[in-house]
């Protein structure tokens, strides 16, 4: 599990400490990853859409949640459970 934002890494470190996040936060300072994932919006000033991706072990996207839906991790957790289940049955 990773959190990604366009903040500088020092800002992310401070943020991680403040909210006590248990997973690593990644800094996409150069906006390369938000662009690669197609969620960078140049029409707004420097804005990336809130989105959650679940990627399986083969590097394939298995689940996408966008906008406010992405705030609720339930669906992402469900997708993870599904992947875990898939693994167990394989």
């Amino acid at each position: 599990m990773f959190g990604i934002s366009m903040d500088s890494n020092p800002a992310n470190k401070e943020y991680a400490q403040k909210i006590g996040v248990t997973f690593p936060l990644l800094s996409d300072w150069k906006r390369e990853v938000v662009k690669a994932y197609g969620i960078y919006d140049p029409t707004k000033s420097d804005y990336a859409m809130r989105t959650t991706f679940v990627i399986d072990k083969d590097g394939i996207i298995q689940h996408i949640k966008e906008g406010n839906e992405a705030v609720d991790p339930t669906s992402a957790i469900d997708a993870c459970n599904l992947l875990t289940h898939k693994k167990a049955t394989q």
Binding site: M1, F2, G3, I4, S5, M6, D7, N9, A11, N12, K13, E14, Y15, A16, V21, P24, L25, L26, S27, D28, E32, V33, V34, A36, Y37, G38, I39, Y40, D41, T43, Y47, A48, M49, R50, T51, T52, F53, V54, I55, D56, K57, D58, G59, I60, I61, Q62, H63, I64, E66, G67, A70, P73, A76, C80, L83, T84
Partner: protein, 93 residues
């Protein structure tokens, strides 16, 4: 013009003014168009697409106080990965 005629004209005028006032469009509020927000950007990726690789610095530091970088491809064949893109730190996003 006799007084009677003048009076009649006055009444007609008054009636006309009254009717005009009645039929005048009332000061209704301008039709409020629901503010349609600009369409939110959507990811160009779809379920089933390969996830673009990345190599980014993280909030994790190693034993030598060096920032740990994570590469998506490092997890290939090992782990499922959840990527949560959030707006910007300190925005509650």
């Amino acid at each position: 013009m006799t007084i009677r005629t003048g009076f009649a004209i006055l009444i007609i005028l008054a009636a006309a003014v009254y009717t005009a006032a009645q039929s005048a469009p009332t000061q209704s509020a301008a039709p409020t168009k629901p503010a349609t927000p600009p369409p939110a950007p959507h990811t160009t990726l779809k379920v089933g697409d390969p996830a673009p690789d990345f190599n980014l610095p993280s909030t994790i530091v190693d034993a030598n106080s060096k920032t740990v970088r994570y590469k998506l491809s490092d997890f290939k064949g090992k782990k499922n990965v959840v990527l949560a893109f959030y707006v910007l730190a300190f925005t509650g996003g």
